[in-house]
């Protein structure tokens, strides 16, 4: 904005038509540079959006015409000063929740696999308790020589290999 005002100050005193035209052109390109969001800003938002026309392809890499238009829409809304959240919200109202990269209902989407995993873990630990219980009663011998066990195993393995070689 500052840039624009400055240029106007310079441009006005100039009477020459050609100079005016040149500076006007300059003003316009400066305008474009100042206000148009960059591709990177657009892609940052587009990365998390999915267009229904090309399912499972994020918007920033989708080559279809529909997706190109969507990216332009993001650019336009960024230029209007909308935030990332507002833009995403706009897309959700217009095109439905499927434009988001995750289901809007976070709880449902994470809860089921989490519960399944916990159930599996529970079964496993219950199993361990069951398997280990009789052992604790039976004897304490294994725990005693457990420390020596890996070493023993090593020597035994080596011996076995020696045997095999012969």
């Amino acid at each position: 904005m500052l840039n624009r005002a400055k240029l106007r100050n310079y441009a006005l005193p100039l009477a020459l038509l050609a100079a005016l035209a040149v500076s006007l052109l300059f003003v316009m390109t400066a305008l474009a540079q100042d206000d148009m969001p960059t591709d990177d800003e657009v892609n940052k938002i587009a990365k998390d959006l999915y267009c229904p026309v090309c399912e499972s392809t994020p918007l920033d890499v989708c080559p279809t015409e529909a997706c190109r238009q969507w990216r332009e829409l993001i650019r336009q809304q960024l230029a209007e000063g909308k935030s990332e959240e507002e833009i995403k919200q706009y897309f959700v109202t217009y095109y439905g929740a499927r434009v988001l990269s995750e289901p809007p209902n976070r709880l449902a989407s994470y809860l089921v696999p989490a519960l399944a995993f916990l159930a599996g873990a529970f079964l496993l630990f219950r199993g361990f308790r069951m398997w280990l219980k009789p052992l604790a009663v039976e004897s304490a011998v294994p725990t005693e020589d457990a420390e020596a066990f890996p070493q023993d195993e090593y020597i035994r393995r080596m011996e076995e290999e020696l045997k095999k070689r012969k």
Binding site: C51, P52, V53, T64, E65, A66, R68, Q69, W70, E72, L73, Q76, V92, T93, Y94, Y95, G96, A97, R98, M130, K133, P134
Partner: protein, 192 residues
């Protein structure tokens, strides 16, 4: 449940309730996949189907009798032609002129309403398209793709003809090639 010996225990199966859970789980899983498959195979909704009500918001300049949205149920007694299109859709351009001239022909009768439902499109581009083809019938965006999901469209363009009773009578998949083709569908419905 403990098996503390190496001797094979007496023949002991899985408890019944575990078996029930396993089978219910399997059946549920297969059921969901079956429903998904069924849905994928279904295609669009078929003629004979009484169409549920929906509301189409309309682009300004493309209102229906001055209202900025239109409800299907308000159009009962009229023949409704629902055309799904998009500005990025090349085949849609082939039929745009035919649809418009059909609209111009039937609009004066007041007995036929054309509704353009703009599928996954951006408003500025949609306006460029509507202007380019001089379209004047009511048009609006398919908000959250609800309408297209209801009709289970497979692509654009697709056109659905609903009779005076609100029953779907004809489905056109792909573009119309002539005005005659559209007339041949609407005229019999009009004379009913």
């Amino acid at each position: 449940m403990t098996e503390s010996t190496n001797i094979a225990p007496a023949r002991k199966g899985v408890p019944l309730w575990v078996q029930v859970i396993i089978w219910v789980f399997l059946a549920g899983l297969l059921g969901i996949v079956a429903m998904g498959l069924n849905r994928a195979q279904q295609g669009t909704i078929q003629p004979g189907h009484a169409v549920d009500d929906f509301t189409l918001p309309l682009y300004s300049g493309y209102e229906y009798q001055g209202a900025s949205e239109v409800k299907l149920s308000e159009l009962r007694g009229k023949i409704v032609v629902i055309n799904f299109w998009a500005s990025w859709c090349k085949p849609c351009e082939q039929e745009a002129a035919e649809l418009q001239s059909a609209w111009e022909q039937y609009e004066p009768t007041g007995e036929v309403v054309f509704l353009g439902v703009d599928y996954v499109d951006t408003e500025p581009q949609a306006r460029v398209y509507l202007k380019k083809f001089g379209i004047t019938f009511p048009n609006g965006p398919d908000l959250a793709t609800r309408i297209s999901q209801y009709f289970r469209i497979k692509g654009v363009p697709e056109t659905y003809f609903i009779d005076r009773e609100g029953v779907l009578r004809y489905v056109q998949v792909g573009p119309f090639t002539s005005l005659q083709q559209i007339q041949n569908i609407i005229d019999p419905l009009l004379s009913e």
